[in-house]
Structures are given as structure tokens and as C-alpha cells.
Amino acid sequence: MSDYHLISAPPLALYDQSFEGVSLIAPADFAVVSIALPLGGEAAALKAIKSAFGKALPDVGKSVLSKSVRLVRMSLDQGFVIFSHATPDAESFVAKKLKDAAYTTDQTDVWTGLILSGPKARTVLERICPIDLHGQAFAVNDTARTTMEHLGTLIIRTGDDEFLLMSASSSAHSFLHAIEISIRNIA
């Protein structure tokens, strides 16, 4: 038994705020694992993903929800698995499910997540997000890489009025600040 114990403290842990028309929450136990499809082994990897999660890895720019696990296609040979997982073994959890059919890397601590929801969510994002979030252009489950206030961001539409925003964990406080300013600035 070690004399020492490490306490987990993600940068935006427990953040949960409501504003007029929107709420902003940092999801608890937020886990992200990347999946890389081996060159020449794509079919086997895709099959393993479907078998592991019950849903196929969607096309680039799309995501799919399978129970509480969201599969996001980042590029032709890369996807993300986003889910809730409290312990620091998200990568091995996914790797076991895929049975070595794909390369996995833990991305949990690389990212910080914020869920922006409410009727004014799109209005808030108009101040900071360059991409078109109209329902016709960016439907539920659509995903895109973009930048917000100079910060690389992954945006996923998780509902009509709900977006999951992911950005680098080292600049989490700047990212949160940028979203909060956007909320404050809308009329």
C-alpha cells in the first residue's frame, strides 16, 4: 500500500452553471479514447468497433450514440470514443473491447469537455464558432473541428439545442472564459 495517494482534479471539474437561456456543464468522468484504423486493416477494425459498441463508426464529420458511448469519426483512419469512465484506464477499457484490431490512445486528459445547452445555445456560439450551426447545415450528431477564440475545438451537436464542445485541457480555463463571455455578451 502506497503512503501517497493522487487526487484527480480535471481543470473544469464540477463546473455547472445556468444562465438565461443556456446552461453550461463540464461532464463528470469525461473519457475520450482515440481509435486509429491500421492501414490495410480497416475492415477488421471497423468490424471490431461495431462488435464492441453495437454501432458502426460513422462517416467523417458524423457521430453516433450507442447507449452512453458516442463514436465520432474524426478522419478516414481515426475515430474517437467518448464516454463516461471514472478511472484512468479508459484506453485499456476500449483496447480490450477492440481486441487489438485498432490502435488506441488515451485522450481523456488531453481534452476538456463542456456541454452547452438551451434555446440560446446557437446564439451563444454565433459569437465564437465560425462554422454554420443551422440545423440544415449541422444536424444532430454532426461533428466538426474548428477554432474558437484561437483554441482548437471539436464541436458535436448532441441535440437540437445541445452541443458538446471539446478543447485542449491545458487551456481549459481560457476556453471556459471564452464561452462564458459569449454567454454574457448575447442580448
Binding site: 500500500m1 502506497s2 503512503d3 501517497y4 495517494h5 493522487l6 487526487i7 484527480s8 482534479a9 480535471p10 481543470p11 482515440s34 486509429a36 491500421p38 492501414l39 490495410g40 483512419d77 481515426q78 484512468p88 484506464d89 490502435y103 490512445t105 488515451d106 485522450q107 481523456t108 486528459d109 488531453v110 481534452w111 454565433e126 459569437r127 465564437i128 464558432c129 465560425p130 462554422i131 454554420d132 443551422h134 440544415q136 447545415a137 477564440e149 484561437h150 483554441l151 485542449a168 485541457s169 491545458s170 487551456s171 480555463h173 481560457s174 476556453f175 472564459h177 471564452a178 463571455i181 459569449s182 454574457r184 455578451n185 442580448a187
Partner: protein, 982 residues
Amino acid sequence: MTQANRLKGGQIDRDTTLNFTFNGRNMQGHPGDTLASALLANGQRLVGRSFKYHRPRGILTAGSEEPNALVQLRTGAHLEPNTRATMAELYDGLTATSQNHRGSLEFDLMAVADLLSPFLSAGFYYKTFMWPKSFWEKVYEPAIRKSAGLGSLSMLEDPDIYDKGFLHCDLLIIGAGPAGLSAALTAGRAGARVILADEDFATGGRLNAETMDVDGMAGADWAAQVVAELNTMDNVHLMTRTTVYGAYDHGIYGALERCTDHLATSGGKPRQILWRIYSRRAVLAAGATERPIAFGNNDRPGIMLAGAVRTYVNRFGVTPGHELAVFTNNDDGWRSAADLAAKGVSVKAIIDTRDAPAVMDVPGARHIRNAAVVNTVGRKGLRSITLTDDQVIDVDCLAVSGGWSPNLHLTCHQRGRPVWDEGLCAFVPGRDLPPGMAVAGAANGAMTLATALSEGRDMANAQIKELGFKASRKAAPKAEDEPQECAAFWHVRQSKSRAWLDLQNDVTVKDVKQSYREGFRSVEHLKRYTTLGMATDQGKTANIPALAIMAECTGKSIPETGTTIFRPPYTPIPLGALGGRARGKDFRPTRLTPSHEWAKNNGATFVEVGNWLRAQWFARPGEQGWRDSVDREVVMTRRSVGICDVTTLGKIDIQGRDAAEFLNKVYANAFGKLAVGKVRYGLMLREDGICYDDGTAARLSDNHFVMTTTTANAVLVFRRLEFARQCLWPDMDVHLISTTDGWAQFAVAGPNARNLLRKIVDANHDISNEAFPFMACGEISVCGGTPARLFRISFSGELAYEVAVPARYGNAMMGVLMQAGKEFDAVPYGTEALGVMRIEKGHAAGNELNGQTTALNLGLGGMVSKKKDSIGSILSERPEMNREDAIRLVGFQPVNKADKLTAGAHFINRGDAANMANDQGWMTSVAYSPNLGHSIGLGFIKQGHTRKGEIVRAVSPIHGTEVEVEIVPAHFIDPEGERLRV
């Protein structure tokens, strides 16, 4: 002061009274007024002084083209100069002051400049202030700036906030006048996503200023009805108080929304928002701007554009005078006379330059044909005009119309050239419009209401049809084709007094002629020589008459003479809006290391390293300055153990069957045979053979590596690897992903490093020297099961490790390391101590890998493997890069140990003059070594590797220092590397 000039009607809310002040005088207006209309309602004709001659000036226009009526709005830090009174929406409590005068507005001491006007013509300062040369910056220019110019800044920080944003649409319609509204209605009903933007606070454009009917109802009522319908459409976004100021590539438009300028306070919300509008198509329906005619003393308060007079009468219920005359070269001028007469205002005469019958019946007005105004009287307000036949007419307002120019500026923002329309006497948009743009209405030269409405509909239909929407078959709204004949007439030749073209910059007809005489005949030269068309109005009313006069001088036609190039912005954009929210600490994001909180609570001073904030040193009580802290951190680390957060180094996860071969290709040294569980230092070259970056790569399994990069190049290296993976070697099975932020990584350095780590590394992991030697790596666990990675690498030269845990545990890990290290007197150390120790050890860093140096220069030439191909290896063999006398990285120490060394100093051989010809190299890094007790340095010097022991001079003319230094090996501490391996 009462609103003596109010008429009946207008689109103002007379039930509400707004109080405001102008130069301290209390006045009243109503919601719906602009400051200009309210000033006119209160009889205030004199509103400012001119730029150069300090001539009394009034209000010329009713829109954003206003050159004269520039005022300072608000007070204190909120004060904003150069605001166009014609665009300032009235609110209760508004405070306005006039600008550019010394003394009061009425008695401006600087008006003496007007008497000196013969000496102050165009370009006078280029010729006058030639001698002595040194006086220009210190004497002449400040004096000129003080006596000429526009308003003054508060010199206080702007307390308002600004924002930016992004909008998207199928069709952007610029201008909500008849053409724009017709277009919006068509596209909106078809289901297209429409943004309709107008700079005015009211929609309707000229419909609000006219008395014409649309679809059998008053034009303004029709506009209101259309807006009401548009407001019910979810697919239409109506933006008032929004100026689309620029047309950029790919259908992107810039727009400024003035959110709270019409309110007494912004209420903590952004005052203005700078929008980037992404459009698939656009319709420019920006209307047209009326031109003046140049004649003697045509700048007096009370002389206005005829369309503006009509606007004040019809929209604002204000008459700018009580006895008026109209001076026109076109039919439209007559409409002003008719509307004024219909409101009961006395119109004494219509002076038409054309020898043509009356356009319409204007009760009480004399029609004086084939005539012109040659001069006027009334210094602070017009009293009379004199015609070409010498008759004098007493009037207090003269409405002038020289024809209308389409507002085609945005059609030219991507190098489009307008074409001359002889019938309109105006430029109209050419064929080379920005991609996706169409032009409708007056902006396209369709000057009548009926054609504007039908063009708006037609252009919108054409645009949305291309996007796959069904075009509307519904007929355009019905209106009359009002008379619009115009005969070119630019200036009154018979005038002997100065005749103004550009009222904002005090440029007269005489100035243009002088520009011609002095050889500045191109319109671009004319602009720069005379300042014509500069400043807030960008010559919207002045440019065409001026170039017409230049055309007269040169004997060329107007289209041959051409126009200056219209560039964004269409109207002024405050710098605050361009900055948006990027002020102070919001200028850029900040990256924090995982142990930032711990560092903050333990006396760290932080330094910006790119976007990162890193602990620079940790001060302890009693230390007198940073050197005390840094020296202690270095000494204690080398004596026992120190801990430094090195998370900022880039980390790239590399996986794939070809990962090893991939590293072999991107690093100059070999990686193919690196054993699992081992780390290797790697050097990357650019394609040209120059050193690019260095770091390490650790092999965690056959197909899995973790690469570290320098902090500065983390993103660049990742991008470079992605390029190599995707474009150079797409057949390799290699996958990359950044994990820089994912792992909190700490250097644990010093003789007690292993002893400390043993206390936190879980017992099942053997980290003894035998089991885990220098350059070993492994995946371990710490503190009872937390996954971690351990690398036995050393930047300090001591027995050292880097231990990494998931970033969420980083802050706790720093605390645990310090707690476990207590028995060893462990110290946290910052970037300064880290820098000192790497210089003591002779390790190269950013100062040495500066984009100019080669592996040979760094003493790492042997690392560039000849047995394999890698990026940069071939070009690194170029003879010039392998010269015998190439610079080499070596160490330097002062001959006199008390001397301080200076980074950047150049090496000069003893006895040589300190000049570029004798330059031997330069000092890259210096530090005070607390272990050696004197300054040390690293640097490049020619053939340094053969010159150990030689004395040279380190000369820094910038710092005024010269120190004799001895060339020594770069490794000041433990040159044999024994400490690393214990």
C-alpha cells in the same frame, strides 16, 4: 431652445421628448431623430469647423456620406470623436460637442487660417516646410496636426466592450431600401436563409424619405408591412444598425452592428459587434449617394444636398430652412422642391442648369433655367445666393443636386472596375463583380422606384435559383417610374470664389487644377496630393465631381480618367470593434501546466512561454532577488534533488507497424533498432539540412513510440509529421495523435532522484540502476495504482527521470513529489534553473537551434546517419554546410571571472577591429553558474572545436560591453557524463 423647425408628419415619436445637449446647450428631439435632424429641428445650422481652413460648416447630408457634421459624442472615457451627426441616433441624455476649433464654435481663433488660404493650397506643406530638415518631426508636423484635423481622443482606456461573431446565409442582402426589401421578400418567401442588413436604424431606405407610393400605399408603410412579414419568417435575419463594410473572398462579408450606440449606456453588453458573414450569394442593394455641385462658397451652413433636405422634411418632420432654393442639374432636384412646397415651406426658386421646361409644378417657386449659383453670402449660415446673371436671392437654405452616384463600393472590393454610364452621369458596377454578388436598384443604376423594386425581385430570384430554390413568379411591387433625367454639370466656371469639392478635407476646384498643373494627374496621385477622398467619408460626395474636373483639365473623358480604387471599409470601423474582446489577458488564450495551482500557492513567479505560463522560479522568504532563488534551486538540485514541471514539451503518440521506420525517416539519427523500453535522443533536420527540432523518442512496444519535442515546436513538429505521414509516405502504417496535454510530466533530477521516486513508484516496478538504466523507459504505476510513465533522461546532467501521470493527477503529483522529497530537501525548480543547468551541461536549446545552424555546427554531425535516408540528410552534405571553418558550438568563460557575459555578443579575435569583417561567431546562451561561481556561456565560433584554450573578445556594441573569454568545452559540469549513469 424650442424645435422651431419642426413640420408636421415624419417618422418620429412626438409623444416622447428626448433631452440632449450640443456644446452645453439644452435641446429636445424625439425618438426616430438623428442628432442631425434634432439639431436642425432646434435651428442649429452651424455644427463644426472645417479640417484645414476652419470654415464654419453645417449639415450636408442625411446619411453615412456626411463629410461636415462630425461631432464628439459622450464624455469622459466614453467620448468618441468624428461621429457623423447624421448617423447618430438620438437618445435621452445625449451629449454632443463640436470639434476642431480653438475657442468657441462660433468664434474659432483658428479661422485665421481661412485668411491665409492663398498660402495653404494643396500640397503646401510639402513645399513650405523644407528647411531645416530636423524641424519637420519636432516643430512643423506637431504644429500642423494641432491646428488641422478632426476630433480629439479622450486618451483614456475605452470602457466599452466589443465582440465578434459569425453568421451564415444563403443570400445576404445589403441594404433594406426598396430593392433590398423586394429582394428579401422574394428570397424569404422561397425559403432561402436570408440576412438583410442596413446601416440605418430604420428599414425602408429612401422610401422613408419620399412621398411615393408602392402597391397603392405610402412607400414607408409598404416597407413597414414588408418588414412585418419578414419578421415572421424564421429563415430571415433582419439586421438594422448594421453596415456591411467589406466584400472578401469566398462570399465572406464584414459587417459592423452598432448594438448600443443608440442607448445612453451599453448596460454591460457589447457596444458593437463585428460580424463575419458567410454567404452563398449576395445582392448589393445599397442605393445611391447624391453629389453636390461646386460653386463659390458652396460650403456654408444651410447649403445641403437636395435629397437630404427631402429626407429631413419627409422622414424627420424638420425643415432645414424657411426660405429655400433648389439648385439642380437633374429632375430629382425638383422632387425636393415639390415636397418642401407641399409641406408649406417657401421655395423661392429652382435654378436648373439645363435649358429645359419645368419637370413638375412647384407652387410659389420661380423656375430659373440655364442658370447656376456662382456665390453665396452668410458666414455662419446661408443668407443669400448669387446667380450667374448676378441676381441675388435671399434664402437660408439651398438644396443642391448634382445627380446621384450608385453606391457600388463593395463591387470593387475584389478589384472590380466600375463603368461609366453617360445617361446617368455616374459610374455603375462593372461586370467583374465579387463572385456570387449581384447588384440591384439604385446601386446598379436603376434609379427609379419601380425599377428598383423589380430589380430587387429579379436579382433575388436569379440568385436563389442558382442555389436550388424555386424562383417566385409573383410580380414585383408596383410603383411609378419617376423622372430621372440628368445633364452632367460638375462646377460653376463663372465662380471666382473658392468652390469646394471635398468638404471634409477642404479640397477645392482650384486644388484639383493645381494638382493637374503640378503633374499629379492620375486620380490616385490627385487623391494623395490633395487628400481628396480621404478620412471618414472617403469622398463619397466628392470623388466624382473632382475626377470630372481632372478630366476637364486633361482633356480626357471621365471613364478614361477613372476612379480611385474602393477598398474596405465602406464606412469607418472603430479599432475597438476590430479588436473585439481580444484585450488585456483576453488577447490570447493561456495554457496552464497541470501543477499550476501548486506552483501558484508555493511562491512561483510565472513566465510566458508561447501561450504557456511556466514557473520561472520559486522565491523563498529572505531571498533578495530572482538570482538568489535560481542559484539555490540549481545548487540544491545538484546537491540532492529538484523537481520541475516539464509538461509543456510536446508529446506525440506514434503507433503503427511502420512506426520505427517512420521515425528513421523523420529523425537524422537511427531509430529502427531502438529496443523496446529504451529512449533515444533524436535530431530532426529541415529538408535543407538545417536543424529543425530535437527531442526524444521512447519505444513502449514494437509498434508504439512516444516522441517528445521542444515546447516551441510541439505543434509544428506534429504538423510536419502529419504531412510526412499523409503526403510523403502514405503507404506506411503510422498513426499520430498529440498527447501533450494528456500527461503531466515532471523532471526529477539530482543524486537523490531515485531515492525520492522509490517512495512513490509502486513496489512492483524495479527502478534500480541495473533494472532501469540511463535512457530506459517504461509504463509503470505510482501512488498505489495510478498509471504512469517513467523515462530515465536528463536535461540537467544529473541522475534524472521524467515521470508522467494523467494530467488530472498533475497538481496532486507535484504535491506528492515534494512531500516524498521532504527528507531529501527536495526543491521545485523553474525554467531559469532549468536553463542554468542545461547550459552548465552544454545542452543545446532554442537559442542554439535557431533555424540557421546545422548538426555539424552543434557538434552533432556524427548523428546524421549515412546508412539511411531521412529528411534533410542529403542536403546536409552540401559543401558549404561542411566547410572546415564552419562555426562550432563550444563553451566560453570569462578570463576575469568577475566579468558578466552577454548573450548575443560577437566574438572578435584579439587585436582585430570589432566589425562584421572580423566576426568569428556569437554567444548564444549565458548564465551565472552557482556551481562554478562565475558566468558561463555557450556559443558558436569558427572552428571552435580546434580552438579550446584560446582567448577571444566577446563584444556587444548594443550593450556596450566587451569581455575577454576563453574557449572551453561546452560541458562545464560532469563532462564524462558519470552522474547520469549512477
